[in-house]
Subunit: 418 residues, 2 copies
């Protein structure tokens, strides 16, 4: 076997994917593998076993992020590759999972061919990328970037009031702060697109230039509860009617301002059919490729909130819980991905990701870029998620070539604006 013609073992990768797809499987093709759940533990245990079998030195840091290190010829900062193994509720099998398992396959392929690299390579499974169980998302990479403290992360609670730190201990993945990765030469994350563009334009590979900016809000509309059969409609302080009007108005505004707005969560309290709610709570997610546009929308949103509160005679509290500005990835790492795609003969498309990723935080501390695989119909965070084998194979091959190249490189100029 010649090192020049080294190829990933796609059959082996497929088998690895299938093993992962059984852990937390729902409705045949879905995964329900929330961070720090029993299923997450089961997946972590298997991933650790795979890493050990591949000869990697395994470390767990203080928020449960898993690293597997393959030594280099020189003791230099490593190339980092990987993503996350947790999923949304009723999420898909591909998402970030392919990013971790392709990283593992790249290592296995290097072992097959006895490839030695100048720099060490580390593969990574970041804890709680999704933020579906513990908010906010991407807490583990955010910790590495200094965005969150360990105390903040450990004290996050899920909907049942269970604490992140305790759940981490319960599943046996509370490691140490000294195990965090420190100096990173470069980071490459593979992920599915989560949008329809690659499939629509018939491209093999998405070269991810950056990530949209995001703001999250928790809105509380406070009215006056009463029995459904009493107070006349026009005398009510009905938070549901205020919320419905506000959401409708914000949709129009988002269309006008060309931002993406999503209301993913909503609830009414006390929550009985025949009771006017006292409060209605809902979330707002706002995204744009342009920070100015996003901030402009937020100003209009706040104005509209004031107008609806006054019109509907309710109190509306808007809590700005999280913001992530637009991310620009590193041009040198992007150039490696481009040139390797070209030499492999893959068609590519430059993309700005609508979703956040761990690469967004790692980009703050090291030269970073991402590679997207096409997702059928652009479906993601859903049991219907599907990436065809042909694209998985191309994406895995590209990652292997990119990491080989990066692991032999000198230091890359790092500039936080990429």
């Amino acid at each position: 076997m010649s090192v020049e013609n080294a190829k990933i073992d796609f059959k082996r990768f497929r088998e690895t994917m299938e093993a992962s797809s059984e852990i937390g499987r729902v409705k045949d093709t879905g995964l329900y593998r929330l961070a720090l759940s029993d299923k997450d533990k089961e997946m972590r245990d298997l991933f650790r076993k795979w890493m050990e079998e591949a000869g990697l030195e395994v470390r767990i840091d203080d928020v449960g992020t898993m690293y597997g290190r393959r030594a280099g010829k020189e003791d230099l900062p490593p190339v980092l590759i990987g993503s996350h193994l947790d999923t949304q509720p009723y999420g898909g099998r591909y998402d970030g999972v392919i990013g971790v398992l392709m990283a593992l396959e790249a290592i296995r392929t290097m072992n097959d061919y006895n490839i030695e690299t100048r720099r060490p390579i580390e593969i990574v499974n970041f804890t709680n990328e999704e933020g579906a169980r513990f908010e906010p998302p991407m807490m583990a990479s955010g910790l590495l970037a200094g965005e969150f403290t360990k105390e903040f992360v450990h004290s996050r609670k899920d909907a049942e009031g269970l604490e992140f730190g305790e759940e981490l201990g319960r599943i046996g993945y509370r490691g140490t702060e000294e195990n965090r990765i420190k100096d990173i030469h470069s980071f490459v994350e593979v992920h599915i697109e989560q949008g329809p563009r690659l499939e629509k334009e018939g491209r093999d590979i998405g070269i991810v230039r950056g990530i949209q900016g995001v703001s999250w809000f928790e809105v509380t509309v406070q009215g006056k509860s009463n029995h459904a059969g009493s107070t006349p409609m026009h005398l009510r302080k009905d938070p549901m009617m205020a919320a419905a009007r506000l959401i409708s108005d914000l949709e129009e505004l988002a269309l006008e301002e060309s931002v993406l707005m999503t209301i993913g969560k909503i609830s009414a309290s006390p929550g009985a059919v025949n009771v006017i709610p006292e409060t209605v709570n809902f979330s707002i997610d706002v995204r744009s490729e342009d920070d100015e546009e996003r901030n402009g929308f937020i100003r209009l949103l706040e104005e509209r909130v004031g107008a609806i509160a006054s019109l509907k005679n309710v109190d509306i509290d808007v809590d700005h819980t999280w913001t992530s500005p637009v991310t620009h990835f590193n041009s040198d790492v992007l150039e490696v991905i481009s040139s390797k795609s070209e030499s492999l003969g893959y068609s590519t498309l430059d993309i700005v990701s609508g979703a956040g990723h761990d690469a967004r935080y790692i980009n703050d501390i090291a030269p970073t870029a991402m590679i997207f695989a096409p997702s059928v119909g652009g479906i993601s965070h859903d049991i219907a998620e599907l990436t065809l084998d042909a694209y998985l194979e191309k994406c895995g091959t590209l990652l292997f070539e990119v990491v080989r190249e990066l692991a032999d490189r000198d230091e890359i100029a790092f500039d936080q604006e990429g």
Copy 2:
């Protein structure tokens, strides 16, 4: 003590209220005493003890409704008085509870004065009037009226999937079908107003002529889930935006058509901040004093649903889960309440109840009417619920006088249209 000047013992009634107000107490002044919960069992056990201490013969029927019988001089159909001891989540202390405890106080007062009545008197605590834990509401009185079967009632499930029949057995209140009350001479239910009219007009007593008609719907809006950062707004099939627009439109329609409309429950699935929902579910409660107006609104509602589904590119399913037409109470029973109010010197107001009550179903099988006590600010189903002592005393006195009168009467002409 002369029987002619017999008076209820208001201090004793207040103490009884206070004992009830401790069982399931939340936030100082509220009650959270859902049907067939541990707190409901605790309240039932105490109420059974009180009935036994008052010399009543206690029976439990096959859906857990509790009866306490005081014998009459003749073995005739009894006069029935009472209401329900279950509450909404974070409900109040008064609601139907006063109807049960004033019935108990009427019996205790009769015992104090050794009053014998021609007919037996039975006091009643209907199971699950609220429908907050097991839908629909008023299942126990509906069973007596032939509206629901025992099998239907027993198979109802709460939000956690627990079955009514099993929960009834668990708390020890699964009695027998033969214990159901059969022939009822007349039924009088005392309840708080659940609206502001008595307080606003400064009246002591509400004489309840009937109950508004009600229809319940469960709406399911089905769209297409996806990540919040991908699909452009105008290409989404977003069930939340469709639901918000529909609710806003229906509010306008309800205002135009002079019906009462309430959306008390809403949820989005899968329910994550950064995921466009796949489905949004909400309830609709529509009420009117006029069945034609309510039915006319429902026709317009169905038209609007079709229009929004088409406009927003989603599927909307509207499941009509329950309807109760307008109720007219019995004129002879109402006349007894009127004349006793007059002789006691109480100011009264004729009212049509916006809320459903067990009296609505019992009205189908026996001469029935209701008495309302004023509620401060019209608040109900809320921890802030309050009926002032002066009104509680008048209401209790009136019930005592009304039941004395009815228990000596001949049969009352019964006509289902009242």
